[in-house]
């Protein structure tokens, strides 16, 4: 019995032109402590999968089992790191994390313990220096760090990340990936992360789940990334295994499941998917 199980997830939205099936029969079994990346073209329903697991959306058919129990509503056991950080702008960095801590550990931790736990989680993401600042006063990368701290502080069974670094510049993104690997090595969380970035997926994941194009998107292929940890991006850059994984993902995205509206050419397959999408 797997830890987290997505069973035949199908979701249909009513639209003006009749019902639209966004996801069709998505099945996925995830083990405890596994890091899963969901990758696919824009609009393929990656976020929808994540939202169903989070409980923010209800599947039309099928369901999600966490430790053999069905999940139907959102809860702190499935913490979400939102793409746009979603910190409350009127609270300080500390207060944002403390809000979650107070809610989740209202009865199980004393006030002093909750304070210490809040500080501990902010320490984990290296944000202890900005406790009293508000989200508007810190950079995008720092906001995302606080968002991650808030999610980690809930001690979730599953950590859900919706393109957590998508809005960051590439240098900051690199730092964030390093931080995330460091945290993951320490905590060994079960993570589902949505990404557009092939390098990010290969670097961070134990398995990469590649999704076919929507509508009626489903799991196309699953790639096991069998690289030893800790992984180092500079050493991996020349590693043939790493590059073969990279190539496999690129091939899936740009040859077999290229977006129909993107002009398809052989020479473009080595490009980063973002660039290619931008061209279309």
């Amino acid at each position: 019995m797997s830890y987290l199980s997505l069973e035949n997830l199908t979701i249909t939205f009513p639209t003006d032109n009749g019902p639209l099936t966004v996801l069709d029969d998505v099945c996925l079994k995830i083990n405890k402590g596994e890091f899963i990346s969901l990758i696919g073209h824009s609009g393929c329903g990656k976020s929808t999968v994540l939202n169903i697991v989070a409980g923010l959306l209800q599947s039309t058919r099928g369901g999600v089992l966490l430790e053999s129990r069905e999940v139907n509503d959102p809860g702190p056991d499935r913490a979400v790191v939102f793409q746009n950080h979603s910190l409350l702008p009127w609270l300080t960095v500390y207060e944002n994390v403390r809000l979650a801590v107070d809610r989740v550990f209202a009865t199980s931790k004393s006030k002093a313990e909750r304070h210490a736990w809040t500080l501990h989680n902010l320490e984990l993401v290296h944000m202890s220096h900005a406790l009293e600042r508000r989200p508007a006063e810190i950079s995008g990368g720092m906001k995302q760090r606080v968002g991650i701290a808030r999610a980690l502080a809930m001690e979730p069974k599953v950590l859900l990340m919706d393109e957590p670094f998508g809005a960051l510049d590439s240098l900051t993104r690199t730092h964030m990936q390093e931080s995330l690997m460091e945290i993951q090595a320490a905590l060994n969380n079960t993570v589902i992360m949505i990404t557009h970035d092939v390098d990010e997926a290969v670097l961070l994941s134990d398995r990469i789940v590649m999704m076919t194009n929507g509508p009626e998107a489903t799991v196309g292929e699953i790639l096991h990334v069998d690289l030893p940890r800790p992984r180092d991006r500079i050493n991996l850059a020349a590693d043939p295994t790493y590059n073969s994984y990279r190539a496999a993902v690129l091939q899936f995205l740009h040859e077999r499941h290229a977006k129909p509206d993107v002009p398809h050419s052989k020479s473009a397959t080595n490009e980063r998917p973002k660039l290619k999408l931008a061209a279309g």
Partner: protein, 320 residues
């Protein structure tokens, strides 16, 4: 060092003169235009008052206020002396302190107006903000209430006034009324006109709370109350204040008309009495009231803005 400081001071002086000069020139031109046009308008009460007459009448109103104050002080002094004398003759004498019943001065009337508008505005806000919050959070409730809000929003205070007057007369019956009926009528009329902008803006503010923030509250399973206090209200605060400021502005405008008709002893009654009085100074005195109404309205708006700054989490936001 010294030269640099001197230069900075010079720059500041230059900036200040620039900031003050342009409005001052505009004001001067306005006064010129006013006196030029006023001199050409003949009414049955004489020429339309120019800036000079209005200035004189404002001084006159201050003098009258001081005289009235002196009379009041003298009245109490006399009364106290008389009572003391009576007590000296007979320690058991039944002495009463009678309140002074002179004419309300212009400044008393400003006070009454402010009190009336504050009462009406406060009642309206206490009703409108909660209604706006629940309307913003519940789409069916909004659909139910929206037609009513849209129907009552454009109604003039003058249409409400007769109804309010009759209802207050019928319902508020007391031998020793704490509040004058005219005061209640005016305040309730202000309330009825103050409700709508606050309801509408609060509803919009609450309904447009960022969906991601609401998702955060769902993931955290925040209670309805915590969600409202921690997420919805702070997020809707700027819109709520926009509504409150609009409401207060409307309330102040409405009040003058309501006071005229309800005979509440405030600025509206002052204008009405001067109009009925019809002396050669009346128009200038009304003009003083007009300027006072405008200035007080401006101050009310500024104080709401200050309040918003105090309450708002976003100190850097530009508030106008």
């Amino acid at each position: 060092m010294k030269a640099a400081a001197q230069k900075r001071i010079n720059q500041m002086v230059q900036k200040l003169t620039h900031a003050a000069l342009i409005p001052l020139v505009a004001l001067f031109l306005f006064l010129l235009l006013w006196s030029a046009i006023a001199a050409r308008i003949d009414t049955s009460l004489g020429k339309f008052p120019g800036p000079v007459q209005v200035w004189q009448q404002s001084q006159q109103l201050i003098t009258e206020y001081k005289e009235e104050q002196a009379r009041e002080a003298a009245f109490y002094e006399r009364q106290e002396a008389r009572n003391a004398e009576r007590l000296k003759e007979n320690p058991d004498a039944d002495v009463t302190v009678r309140p002074y019943t002179g004419n309300p001065t212009f400044f008393d009337q400003i006070g009454t107006s402010l009190l009336t508008v504050a009462t009406g505005f406060l009642i309206a806000s206490l009703i409108a903000v909660p209604i706006g919050i629940v309307c913003g959070m519940s789409a069916p409730l909004y659909q139910a209430l929206n037609p009513l809000i849209q129907l009552f929003k454009p109604v003039s205070p003058l249409a409400w006034l007769p109804l309010v007057t009759m209802v207050v007369s019928a319902v508020y019956v007391s031998d020793d009324p704490l509040l004058a009926k005219s005061f209640l009528t005016s305040a309730i009329t202000v309330t009825l006109c103050c409700l709508w902008p606050t309801i509408i803006n609060t509803t919009v503010g609450v309904a447009s709370v960022d969906k991601d923030l609401l998702n955060v509250s769902r993931v955290l399973r925040l209670s309805w109350f915590t969600k409202t206090m921690k997420i919805v209200l702070p997020s809707a605060m700027p819109m709520i204040f926009t509504g409150l400021r609009l409401s207060l502005g409307i309330g102040w405008m409405v009040l003058i008309a309501a006071e005229m008709l309800a005979q509440n002893p405030g600025l509206g009654k002052f204008v009405w009495d001067e109009f009925q009085n019809g002396s050669s100074n009346s128009l200038a005195r009304i003009m003083v009231a007009v300027l006072a109404i405008g200035f007080i309205g401006f101050l009310l708006d500024r104080s709401m803005l200050l309040l918003q700054r105090r309450v708002s989490w976003d100190k850097s936001a530009v508030l106008r």
